[in-house]
Structure formats: structure tokens, C-alpha cells
């Protein structure tokens, strides 16, 4: 087997390399076409505006929207905040200070923090929030949302695909339900848009966040789809100023970033079907090879209803951070507490019932456009070797092999 160049990048759910075609499209806007698109009375402004308009068309074409429905932001975190906070404040049932609940919001416990934290802030400010708890497969269904609906539900925010386990929620069905009930529907599409086919009409979406750097575009730029008709969605602005982006997001436009995002969307539209098919085969090869060589492995989340390029595997009896150290030439992520600032294992894995010890033992490997079969083979070998080495070191593996039931041991908690 030929050794691929090291290190190997298998963390595409964290971020992706910028496509050279994207960089090329952006470059003139740094040095030559540097105008402010808000400058309406000279050619510098018009040129910049033209770049932004093209990007808006490219984004709209990718998601099946009208270009007037695309709002550019600094990224998906800002989009989520603008959408959730903006919709809650616009559609509240009772004003702040009235002493009555301001309105009910439904989201899910395994959302990204950029959704959970705005919802928690609204909760403190008098809104009521239901955090749905998906079952072990990690999928949020329309029935779960339906059962949580109340007369005062104003907003549902459910991510399209989960960033840690890649599971795909019933977005189209949840959107249909929301439209039937007259409830605003937001989805965080950060891991989905640009990877999988998206049509905001057919998928019944009112608000959708997405990001540039997850789809081979630049960092620091993203977008929010805001539906303009059937129904027209209004948002209370949370950043006030020059009224750019139809008042949804004031601030001089990040023209270079926006041009890059547009180009990335254009490329994604052309390539994503081929990418998804190829990466699905590679991912299956990775999972099959690892599980054929190692016992006590668990693939987390629904086996079919998940993104084709991502896998999250728990390796019993080894700890995730030490596993990542052992495969240091492979860039990936772990649900281990030791890789996070909080010292808590992944709340996503814990929420779907992955035991704490297996949550500590997980690796997230996410493949991308440049991932090769050689890289995957190298990774499989490295992971298998590392897990075997760490199991040699693991007192838990010994105990397990001695027939001791680890769940019945009285551990000295500290």
C-alpha cells in the first residue's frame, strides 16, 4: 500500500479547504473591485454590487429560492441568531413584562449550540421552549414535533443534518406540519446545504441557515434564507444600522466572502451528487474495514438516514483523546470530554443514549471532496493499530475479558 501524504484531513464537518476556483473568483474583489456595494453613485460600488448580485443568484439556484430571499451573514451562527431571535420577537404572543408566556418554541436537544443557546436566552426572557429528545437513532420526526405543538407555538427550529453523527431529520414533513399550523419553521442547514439536494419550496422551509466554509468556500460568510411569500416571514432585526440586506442584517457587505460563497454554491450544485455517491462508498469501506478488524465498535446514529460523508464510531474500552493522539497524523474529532473545554463528553452522544464511557470513546471522521481511497485505507490501519495498542493499556478491556460486568463495578467517582 502506498502511504498518502500526511497529515490526512478527515474533519470536513468542522471545515473544508477553500476550492481554488473560489479563491480565484474572490481575488479581484480585494484589490481591484473593492467598492462598497452600498455606494450607489460610482462604478466601484456598481462593480461590487454586481459581484454580490451574482453570488445571490448562485446561492438561490442551489437552494431553489428567489434571490431576494437570500440574506448574507457572517456565518451560520449569526444566521441562527437572526432567525431564531428575530422570529421569536416578531411573532411573540404576549409582550415582555406582561407576565404571560411570550410564546412557545420547539427545538431539539442535539442541535448545535448556536441554536440551543439563543433558545435558552429566549427562555430566560419569558418564552417557553420544548427541547425534543430524539431516540437512539438520533432522528427527529414530524410526529415528535406534532406531539410537542401547542396553541401558542410560534417557532420550530430543527437542524437538517446533525454535525456530530450526520443523522438526517424529517425536514420536509416537519415543514409541512408547520405550514399547516401556521408556525414559522427554521432549519439549521449548515451540514446539509451544498452537500445534499435542497429545495426550500418542496422542503417547506421558512428560514434556513447555511455556511460558506463547510462547502469549500471561505470562512466568515454564510447566509440565511428568509421566505418572502406563502407565507412572508418577517423578523425583528437584532443588529441595527445601515439597513443592508433588507434590514435583516445591517453592516457593509463582506463582498469578497460573498463572492466566494456564491462560487462555492455554484460548484456544489454541479458536483454534490457525484461527491455524495463517491464518499458514500468510501465511508462504507471505512466502516466495514474497521468493524471487520475490531470488536466492540459501535456506529452512532441511524445507519441509513445520515450524511454519506460522515461517520461517528465509538471504540469500547479506549478513551477518545488518547485515541486521537495515537492517530495524530489523521485530523478528526472526538466526542471525548478531554478534547473539549468543558470536560464533558459529547452532549449529542449522551442524549441519544450512547453510554458515557462510549461517548468518551468516539471518533468523528468526515470525508471530503479531496479524500482518496488511499487516505481511507491508511486511516483504517492507523485506527485499528491505535485501538489495539490502547486496549493493551486499558484496565477496562482486561476486566471485560475477565468476565467482569463494568456496569456493575462500584467506581470511585471523583
Amino acid at each position: 500500500m502506498t502511504t498518502p501524504a500526511l497529515p490526512i484531513y478527515l474533519d470536513h464537518a468542522a471545515t473544508t479547504p477553500c476550492d481554488p476556483r473560489v479563491v480565484e473568483a474572490m481575488l479581484p474583489y480585494f484589490t481591484t473591485l473593492y467598492g462598497n456595494p452600498g455606494s450607489r453613485n460610482h462604478s466601484f460600488g456598481w462593480d461590487a454590487e454586481h459581484g454580490v448580485d451574482t453570488a445571490r443568484e448562485q446561492v438561490a439556484a442551489l437552494i431553489g429560492a428567489d434571490e431576494k430571499e437570500v440574506v448574507f451573514t457572517s456565518g451560520a451562527t449569526e444566521s441562527n441568531n437572526i432567525a431564531i431571535r428575530g422570529a421569536a420577537l416578531m411573532y411573540e404572543k404576549n409582550p415582555a413584562g406582561s407576565g404571560k408566556p411570550r410564546g412557545h418554541i420547539i427545538t431539539c436537544i442535539i442541535e448545535h449550540k448556536a441554536v440551543l443557546d439563543p433558545c435558552k436566552r429566549l427562555q430566560k426572557e419569558g418564552f417557553e421552549v420544548t427541547f425534543l429528545e430524539p431516540p437512539a437513532d438520533g432522528i427527529v420526526t414530524a410526529d415528535m414535533v406534532k406531539n410537542a405543538m401547542r396553541d401558542d407555538t410560534i417557532l420550530v427550529s430543527i437542524m437538517w443534518a446533525n454535525n456530530e453523527i450526520g443523522t438526517i431529520n424529517q425536514i420536509r414533513e416537519i415543514g409541512k406540519l408547520c405550514h399547516e399550523r401556521g408556525v414559522v419553521f427554521h432549519t439549521d442547514g449548515t451540514q446539509w446545504v451544498g452537500k445534499m439536494p435542497t429545495n426550500v419550496e418542496a422542503d417547506n422551509i421558512d428560514l434556513m441557515s447555511f455556511s460558506g466554509h463547510k462547502i469549500y468556500g471561505p470562512k466568515g460568510v454564510g447566509g440565511l434564507f428568509v421566505r418572502r411569500r406563502k407565507p412572508r416571514i418577517r423578523l425583528t432585526s437584532i443588529v441595527d444600522g445601515g439597513g443592508q440586506e433588507r434590514g435583516f442584517r445591517s453592516g457593509t457587505l463582506n463582498v469578497t466572502g460573498i463572492v466566494g460563497l456564491g462560487k462555492a454554491c455554484e460548484i456544489a450544485k454541479a458536483q454534490m451528487a457525484d461527491d455524495a455517491a463517491r464518499l458514500g462508498v468510501l465511508r462504507k469501506h471505512l466502516e466495514d474495514s474497521v468493524t471487520a478488524q475490531l470488536d466492540h465498535c459501535q456506529i452512532n446514529g441511524h445507519r441509513e438516514k445520515r450524511l454519506p460523508h460522515l461517520t461517528n464510531i465509538s471504540f469500547g474500552f479506549v478513551e477518545g483523546e488518547s485515541l486521537m493522539m495515537a492517530v495524530k497524523e489523521i485530523a478528526c474529532s472526538s466526542g471525548s470530554a478531554c478534547t473539549s473545554a468543558s470536560l464533558e463528553p459529547s452532549y449529542v452522544l449522551k442524549s441519544i443514549g450512547v453510554g458515557d464511557e462510549l461517548a468518551h470513546s468516539s471518533l468523528r471522521l468526515s470525508l471530503g471532496r479531496q479524500t482518496t481511497r488511499e487516505q481511507v485505507d491508511y486511516t483504517v490501519n492507523a485506527v485499528v493499530k491505535a485501538v489495539r495498542k490502547l486496549r493493551e493499556l486499558s484496565p477496562l478491556y482486561d476486566m471485560h475479558n475477565e468476565g467482569i460486568d463494568l456496569s456493575k463495578v462500584q467506581w470511585a467517582h471523583h
Partner: protein, 142 residues
């Protein structure tokens, strides 16, 4: 996490990995003291075994196994090195702060050194209990 060279070195070439027998076997051996601390759901379990020369009271050998992060593995590997050749009283004086210093553990990893100190104390206590020796230094609870 960017680790210092000593942690990496211990992690990559851990010293004294192993045990002096299965859980059941070492339970009945009076010359072996066993300490198992931590919990799987906390992401750290350290198992430390000391083999004591029963006539001299000197720790002749020490072995460890560890489920945990790189710092936990390095801390327990270092502990086994330090334990060898020490008397029980000398061993009881090993402090977590010395481990922190030796390995240059980052602040978020100090609990790994605490766990190693706990494991040492637990192994000493186990040996003393098995041999009916009065505990000279009461184990500090963390």
C-alpha cells in the same frame, strides 16, 4: 491539545504497562497492592499495582493500566517509575504537584495528576490492609 514533550514521550512509550495477575489473582496476593481509581463515565480509570518486598518493605515493582487521555496515561506511567525502589512511607509522599511539574501538565489536566496520586494511595492502602499494617498516612479524599 498541544502537549509538552514529556507527556508525549510517556504516552508513546509508556513504562511498566501491565499487571501481576488478573483482578481475582492479585486480590489474594499479600505482596501486591492494587489501586483502581476513576470511572469510565468520567473518561479516566487508572489501575496501579505495586509489588512489595515483604521483608524490606520496599516497592520492588509497579505496573499500571490506564483508560484515559494522554495526560492520564503519562501521569500513571510516571507514577510507576517513581514508585519503584521506594519504601511505603516514601511512596506516600509523592504529591500530584510533583507530577504536574515533571510532566508540565496544562491546567485542565491537573485532575490526571490527582488521579495518579489517588491511585498510589489506594494501592498503598490495599497493601497495608492486606498485611494488617496500620496506615501511617491516612489517604486524603479528593
Amino acid at each position: 491539545m498541544a502537549y509538552g514533550p514529556k507527556i508525549i514521550e510517556h504516552y508513546e512509550k509508556p513504562r511498566n504497562v501491565g499487571n501481576f495477575g488478573t483482578t481475582a489473582e492479585v486480590k489474594n496476593r499479600k505482596d501486591i497492592g492494587v489501586g483502581v481509581v476513576g470511572a469510565p463515565e468520567c473518561g479516566d480509570v487508572m489501575q496501579l499495582q505495586i509489588k512489595v518486598n515483604q521483608s524490606t518493605g520496599v516497592i520492588e515493582d509497579a505496573k499500571f493500566k490506564c483508560f484515559g487521555c494522554g495526560s492520564a496515561i503519562a501521569s500513571s506511567s510516571l507514577a510507576t517509575e517513581w514508585l519503584k525502589g521506594k519504601s511505603l512511607d516514601q511512596a506516600a509522599e509523592i504529591k500530584n504537584t510533583q507530577i504536574v511539574e515533571e510532566l508540565s501538565l496544562p491546567p485542565v489536566k491537573i485532575h490526571c495528576s490527582v488521579l495518579a496520586e489517588d491511585a498510589i494511595r489506594a494501592a498503598l492502602e490495599d497493601y497495608k490492609t492486606k498485611n494488617g499494617v496500620a496506615s501511617s498516612a491516612a489517604a486524603t479524599a479528593h
